[in-house]
């Protein structure tokens, strides 16, 4: 009995040590989570989910903190995933880790994209050309679908104003050669006046 108790105590101590060693942040490990999320996942949602899983599992951040950062990243200009990386990096290691995380999140996928683009540009195979003809149609499909998905959450608070604004912008941009920067700035001002959350 004593022997089994001693074994159990040793096991518990070892288990606790293992858990504690997971919980203690190291200098390099958080960045590895960003690297893994950036390289192994296609699309922002999958990368964000991977990063959330890693950081929560390692007890670095609470799930609700990551969710709050994700919500903020949705309303910041630019790529949402990189905005999320910046916020989480800043929370984990200040500005140095924020910059490193954004650099990792941009440079690694960009390298893959440039390599694929170069292979495509220098390829003379008719097989690649046929693949790209289909992929172009798929790309436009994803683009149009993404436009609808982007619009849908905005219809919740002020649906009629949102539909009216979208229809107006669609009409104006289709019919007139107006600067898109002007359209976006005017829409931002209109939103500040009429689309405030209640």
């Amino acid at each position: 009995m004593n022997d089994s108790r001693r074994r159990l105590a040793v096991f518990n101590t070892a288990d606790r040590r293992q858990v504690e060693s997971k919980a203690v942040p190291t200098a390099t490990h958080p960045l590895l989570s960003f690297v893994r999320a950036s390289v192994l996942h296609v699309g922002a949602a999958a990368a964000a989910a991977s990063l959330r899983h890693d950081l929560v599992r390692d007890h670095r951040l609470e799930a609700r903190d990551i969710d709050a950062a994700y919500a903020v990243s949705r309303v910041t200009p630019g790529t949402n995933l990189l905005a999320l990386y910046a916020q989480l990096g800043h929370r984990l290691g200040g500005w140095p880790l924020a910059v490193q995380a954004v650099a990792v999140g941009a440079l690694l996928p960009a390298s893959f994209a440039v390599v694929i683009a170069a292979l495509y540009v220098y390829s003379t195979s008719s097989l690649v050309a046929a693949l790209m003809t289909g992929a172009r149609a798929g790309g436009v499909a994803v683009f149009l679908g993404a436009a609808v998905r982007l619009l849908k959450p905005q219809l919740v608070g002020h649906p009629w104003i949102a539909v009216g604004l979208a229809s107006l912008v669609l009409f104006v941009s289709w019919m007139f050669p107006i600067s898109l920067f002007v359209v976006l700035v005017v829409a931002g001002c209109a939103g500040a006046m009429w689309l405030r959350p209640s």
């Binding site: 296609v42 630019g78 990189l82 172009r136 436009a147 609808v148 604004l165 209109a190 939103g191 959350p197």
Partner: protein, 168 residues
């Protein structure tokens, strides 16, 4: 166009967008219509290539930069994506202080306008991307699938590329 000018163009586009592909209308206007440095086909290619590689959808900007100015253009694209991301930290602080109602409203307005502009650009790009009726079907069905389901875009691209191979 120099890499610096390209960076400035990309940065302005990214700063006024709240989604990866929302920059497409601005870059289409500047690079395809105004400067004729890029074709509709290349823009479509860039979107398709970016969706077949890891990372966010906005990474197509890097491929556009590569098509326009080679590696320096791609670097300009990467830097333009990185710069606004660091604004997220001060914006988060601002939102958490409670001065957010007007800011959130402005963001909503820009997102709505961006989605409408994306539809306009998508409708303009569609004829080039659909030389046959079957390609047009791919565009319509694929758009509906992306809009209404949670299927990942990479599968749409893969299926569309496979169909292109079949139609050869």
């Amino acid at each position: 166009m120099t890499a610096l000018a390209l960076y400035w163009l990309f940065l302005r586009a990214v700063l006024l967008s709240f989604s990866g592909l929302a920059t497409v209308p601005i870059l289409h206007e500047a690079l395809v219509i105004d400067h004729a440095m890029l074709t509709d086909a290349q823009l479509n290619d860039a979107i398709a290539i970016s969706q077949a590689s890891p990372g966010p959808l906005g990474m197509y900007v890097v491929v556009v930069g590569y098509f326009v100015a080679g590696i320096p253009g791609a670097v300009a694209g990467v830097l333009a994506l990185m710069t606004p991301a660091l604004l997220a930290v001060p914006i988060a602080r601002l939102l958490l202080r409670g001065h957010s109602a007007a800011l959130q409203g402005a963001c909503s307005g820009i997102v709505i306008a961006a989605s409408a502009l994306m539809m306009t650009t998508g409708l303009r790009l569609a004829p080039q991307a659909s030389p046959t009726a079957l390609h047009l079907c791919i565009v319509l069905v694929g758009a509906a699938v992306v809009a209404l389901t949670n299927i990942k875009p990479v599968w749409i691209i893969a299926a569309a590329a496979g169909t292109g191979l079949f139609l050869r």
